[in-house]
Amino acid sequence: MNGAAQASSMIDVRGLDVVFGKGADEVRAVRDVSFRVPEGATFGLVGESGSGKSTVLRALSGLNHDWTGQVVIAGQAQTPKRDKAFYKLVQMVFQDPYGSLHPRHTVDRILMEPLSIHGFGDAERRIEQVLGEVGLGPSFRFRYPHQLSGGQRQRVAVARALILEPRILLLDEPTSALDVSVQAEVLNLLQRLKQERGLTYILVSHDLSVVAHMCDELAVMNNGAVVEELSVERLKSHAPEHPYTRQLMVASLGYDRAAIDRFEDFGVEG
C-alpha cells in the first residue's frame, strides 16, 4: 500500500473496540480491530459465528453506539450518532431476507420509505429503475414479501439499499440464508452493481469461497480480534500464515472427521 492508496481510502478503522455489558458481565466483542478499505474495493471480514465480524459491521453502520476507536468514512471521522447524510452514503444488506422486509408492506412501500425520509422527488422513476437494476420486473412492485422467494426478497433488500444511491454497501452475510443456486445469482448481481456504480463493499461472511469470489482483501477474525489480514491471491494460493486461517480453510472444504479432531481453540489470552 502506498501513500496515494491510503489517501483515497473509503473506510479507515483504527483501534475499534466494542464492549457489551458492564462489570462482571462485560464482554469485549471486538478487540482493537483496524483495517482500511480503498474506494471501489471489496473487503471481506471472515470468521466463525461469534467472532465479532457482524458487530464490526453494526458499529460501522451506526446501529450500535457502544464502540470506541476511530472510524473514518469517506474522509469524515464518525461519532456513534449519525446524521441523515451519512445514511445516503452508507447502506446495509442484512443476512436474513425473511426478517429484513416489513411483512405488512408491499415492495413499493418498502422502496418508497427511504425516498420519503430523504425527500426525493421522482419516486416513481427511481423505484422502477432500481427494480429493473436488481432484475425484478414491474410485476413485483406491488407484492408483499410473503409472495416472494428468498432470492427475490434479497433482491428487494439490495434495491432498498441502492435506492438512496450510496457509495458504500455493508453486506452482512447476504447469501448465507439462501440456497446455493440462488447464492450465485445474488453474488453476481452484487458484482455487477459494484462495477456499474463504483461501489465500495464490506462483506461479512463465514464462507471462504464466497469471500474468495467477491473480495480483493480480507481480514480473518477470531474471538473479536483480527488474526490475519491477507489478499485473496494469498488465500487462493493456500498460503495463509495464521493457523486459525488454515483451520477455516480446511473447514470450508467440507466435513472431515480427522481434520476436525485436530482443530484447536485459538482463544485470545487476557
Partner: protein, 310 residues
C-alpha cells in the same frame, strides 16, 4: 345468458383480487382484504358473530322504523303485560313497550362500545408502542402508570370515577375508557419489544428514519391486528360494565332505554313479571356473545403468528 356473463364478471373480479402480481397499491391492499375475508368466511361461528353485530348495527340505524312504539311513551293502563301481539316482549312497570326499548337501547349500546373503543384503543396503542420502542426511563414511567391503573379492579375504578364525575352515560363512557386502556398498552408494548430489534426495523433506522416514523408507520401496523382482536373480545366486557353501571344507577339515567338500567328497573318485579328484567338480559347476552365470536374469528384471520401471512 345474463347469468353466465355475470359469473364471468365475478370470476374476473376474483382473479383480479387474487392476482399474485398486482398492478397498483389499491389492488394489493384489496387483494389482501379479500384473502382475509375468504378465510374469515369459512369460520361459521365467526360469521354468526358478524351477523349478530351487523344486526345490532342495523337495529340501531333503523330503530325508528323497527320499533312499533315510542320507547318512552307511558301507558299506565297497559303496565306489566305479558308477551302479546301488540307488545312482543311485554311492557314494563310504566307500560312502555319493552321491544321498542330494546331496539332503541341498541343505539346506546353501540354508542358506548364505539366510543370506548376509539378512546381506549389509541391511548393503549400510543402508550404501549412508545414505551416498548423507546425503552429506558420512558418505558419505566409509562408502564408504572399502566400498572397503577391495572392494580384496581376495573368495575370498582369505574364506579369511583363515575361517582366523582357524576352519573350519566358520557361519564360512564369516560370511566370505562380510562379503565380499559392499560391491557391494550401491555399488549402493544409486548408486541413492540418483539418487533423492535428485528432486521426490518434496523433497516429503516439505517435509512435515517426518525423515532416517530418508525413507531407510527412500521411498528403500529404490526400491533393493530392483535389489538383489534383484543378490543373486539373486550366489547362484551364493556357492554357488561356499562350495563352494570346502568344497573347501579350510575350509567344511563331514566328514561333512557339502556339495557342495564332496564334490568335494574325490572328487578323489583322479577318474581311475578320475570320478562321485564329477562328480555334486556337476553339482549345483553346475545350481543356479548356476538362480539366474542367475531373476536375469535378475527383472531384466526388477523393474528400475525398464524393467519394473514400466507
Amino acid at each position: 345468458m345474463s347469468g353466465e356473463s355475470e359469473s364471468l364478471q365475478a370470476l374476473g373480479w376474483r382473479a383480479w383480487l387474487l392476482s399474485s402480481s398486482p398492478r397498483s397499491r389499491n389492488q394489493a391492499r384489496l387483494g389482501r382484504f379479500y384473502i382475509a375475508w375468504l378465510s374469515f368466511r369459512s369460520n361459521h361461528l365467526a360469521m354468526l358473530g358478524l351477523g349478530i353485530v351487523l344486526a345490532l348495527i342495523f337495529m340501531a340505524v333503523f330503530a325508528p322504523l323497527i320499533a312499533p312504539y315510542d320507547p318512552n311513551a307511558q301507558v299506565l293502563a297497559d303496565r306489566l303485560q305479558y308477551f302479546s301481539a301488540e307488545h312482543w316482549f311485554g311492557t314494563d312497570d310504566f307500560g312502555r313497550d319493552i321491544f321498542s326499548r330494546i331496539v332503541y337501547g341498541s343505539r346506546l349500546t353501540l354508542y358506548i362500545v364505539i366510543l370506548v373503543a376509539i378512546i381506549a384503543a389509541p391511548i393503549g396503542l400510543a402508550v404501549g408502542t412508545t414505551a416498548g420502542y423507546l425503552g429506558g426511563w420512558v418505558d419505566k414511567v409509562l408502564m408504572r402508570i399502566t400498572d397503577i391503573f391495572l392494580a384496581f379492579p376495573k368495575l370498582v375504578l369505574a364506579l369511583a370515577l363515575v361517582s366523582a364525575l357524576g352519573p350519566g352515560i358520557e361519564n360512564a363512557i369516560i370511566a370505562i375508557a380510562i379503565t380499559s386502556w392499560p391491557p391494550y398498552a401491555r399488549i402493544a408494548r409486548a408486541e413492540t419489544i418483539t418487533i423492535r430489534n428485528s432486521d426490518f426495523i434496523s433497516a429503516v433506522r439505517l435509512q435515517g428514519a426518525g423515532r416517530l416514523r418508525i413507531i407510527w408507520s412500521h411498528i403500529v401496523p404490526l400491533c393493530t391486528s392483535s389489538l383489534i382482536v383484543r378490543v373486539t373480545l373486550d366489547m362484551a366486557g364493556i357492554i357488561l360494565t356499562a350495563a352494570g353501571l346502568g344497573f347501579l344507577g350510575l350509567g344511563a339515567q331514566p328514561p333512557l332505554p339502556e339495557w342495564g338500567a332496564m334490568i335494574s328497573a325490572g328487578r323489583k318485579v322479577l318474581l311475578d313479571q320475570w320478562w321485564v328484567a329477562t328480555v334486556p338480559g337476553i339482549a345483553i347476552f346475545i350481543v356479548s356473545l356476538g362480539f366474542n365470536l367475531l373476536g375469535d374469528g378475527l383472531r384466526d384471520v388477523l393474528d400475525p403468528k398464524s393467519g394473514g401471512q400466507s
